[in-house]
Symmetry: C2
Amino acid sequence: MNNFDFYSPTYFAFGKDREQDVGALIKRFGGTKVLIHYGGGSAPSGGSAPSGGSVVRSGLLDRVKASLDGAGVSWLALGGVKPNPRSGLVREGIELCRREGVDFVLAVGGGSTIDSSKAIAAGTVYDGDFWDFYSGKYIEKALPVGTVLTIAAAGSEGSPDSVITNEDGMFKRGATGDAIRPRFSILNPALTQTLPPYQTACGITDIMAHLYERYLTNTKEVEVTDRLIEALLLTMIHEGPRVIENPDNYEARANIMWAGMMAHNNSCGVGRSQDWNSHNIEHELSALYDCAHGAGLAVTMPAVFSYVMDHDVMRFAQVAARVWGCQMDFAHPEVTAKAGIEALRCFLKSIGMPGSLGELGGKAEDIPKLVDVLCNGDGRPGSITGFVTLNEDDCAAIYRMML
Amino acid sequence: MNNFDFYSPTYFAFGKDREQDVGALIKRFGGTKVLIHYGGGSAPSGGSAPSGGSVVRSGLLDRVKASLDGAGVSWLALGGVKPNPRSGLVREGIELCRREGVDFVLAVGGGSTIDSSKAIAAGTVYDGDFWDFYSGKYIEKALPVGTVLTIAAAGSEGSPDSVITNEDGMFKRGATGDAIRPRFSILNPALTQTLPPYQTACGITDIMAHLYERYLTNTKEVEVTDRLIEALLLTMIHEGPRVIENPDNYEARANIMWAGMMAHNNSCGVGRSQDWNSHNIEHELSALYDCAHGAGLAVTMPAVFSYVMDHDVMRFAQVAARVWGCQMDFAHPEVTAKAGIEALRCFLKSIGMPGSLGELGGKAEDIPKLVDVLCNGDGRPGSITGFVTLNEDDCAAIYRMML
């Protein structure tokens, strides 16, 4: 096991009606003037429809404002976050926070809203351009961030990470730093009951990807991390179909919501190398086609896993046997390994996810451009690296496998 | 799933040589004058031999002191912690901290040392008698605590809990509060490589008990928590025999050490009722006979589980099938449930744990006294409660099953 540091100091308030506690939690963590950041509302013109209109329509935003008023915490609000959140709105938020002397950023929404809030929180107290953080600079300082989560998916509610799309070139990049870990996150599974099945399935896929990306390691003998990942994958496989069948199933929603947090606060990633090639390969898809990140991952993962399977057949056989219930073929482990990838593909299809690039709006002729931005964009060295290092030819082959 | 709050803000520094970072971590978390608390050394007279002499002999204490000196942090030291730590030493520590103006308590040792340190940290800033906390008062305030862990067992390095033996009557009681959660914990698995097999096995048993106590719940449909517990039990079953066979197996030690933390920071206990009857029943054994807590649990758990099995046969069948690999008998689930308890009993025996009260030094004639202190001591209402409520007759029957 590699040496590691693990630090997940976020306070989680989980369950029915917990958004009522938001005012008290902001006070507890020192906020006095809050930017409430959310989807929908005052959306900038252009692009796809804001996803977070439901935050307004459902009355959640009003309940949050009432809780802040009740706690005597002053606030202003900035809506307009879209899926695959954009750098332009981040800049607007930074300017607003500086002008108004905001000292706490509260995200009300899903991963996009939280990631946008984290970018604003880091950018507000930084002298340079916030995109520096999305070009590799570690985030040392930020305004405190809190979240009221409305979608189980990204895991941003418990992570030190943020992903933003740069509108100047339409590519996505990530930033990280303990300073942007939420001080608190409110997880009320009932808020996710109104999510349409497609978005629910996208969230399930994203959570499973966070687990698979940590499962694909080159570090030997970290059984505890293997087992924890398998536990959460088994949970998703059990609860996913139940919630697709019955969106009002609170218990299934609750299990998925907590698994989604655990899948990405790195509880399941300590002590070893991780992958993240699937995420990187997908990010170019959702940046270019503005498809849902989870839908992109559903297409990406089986292709990537099939392409890299030979790098460690026993690892793929292990997940196939332990998670997917495939019989181990001791004479031909590659048979079991392949069966596990096929089981994943079938599962994703069964919950309504797409299976090909075409279903995402992608075209074969875009592949050279996708590969170029992926492997060379923003200073990358002509390849991406993780479980396996993939050069431009590898990435082109993987995109072609998705056709 | 029940509503819950989850908060585990401890900073974990894990791996080889990490004790070198202790000075820097104390500075990071604001300590300027530190009480180093450890086993062995200036032990009060009487009782069993101090366990922590190895902290001195191995040179660990000197390395810790050197790191503090290097960071410019002043310190004083108080040794003498014994297994089943005593209230007398806690009082001594409180007095010392007040007299010397200590602002940070550093535990160097195992669960007993950490629990004693937590008691000192809480008592130092409390106007009344520290035992109030061990009689049910929640700990709201304490000096910050850090730990350098030397035994994978108690999970106190990541928990808000502490257990102390009151010398006035020789009974153990627990206290809790987020204020005594360690600010940081240093986990170097190599420090555990010198532990004798018996103590190692006691630690493994304690970790498994922390998991079982959380598995036995009356709350339905918390699949994610079931799965996480099963993951860590599977890890212990895999790594336990490896480390008993080869105490120098760093990788196995590392997996056990991290599983031990995860088993007790409540990652695996959210959203539902827990048990803790086995711990309560055992505490009277280690208080009266001064046996190792883990050894007491090895005798206690199979007896308790057999006694309460009928309360929820399917729960015991589930752990038998998923964790112990027992074939599910769909016509007679109680057969599978029983097989799982027997598998646990055999496993504990195989790693060298005792199987009867006699092996702990216990006697049948002590049972009335054990039951009385357990069910009526310190204001208890003639029973203990958890997965099942157990009255004096139940507890007497369980102790008799251990003979």
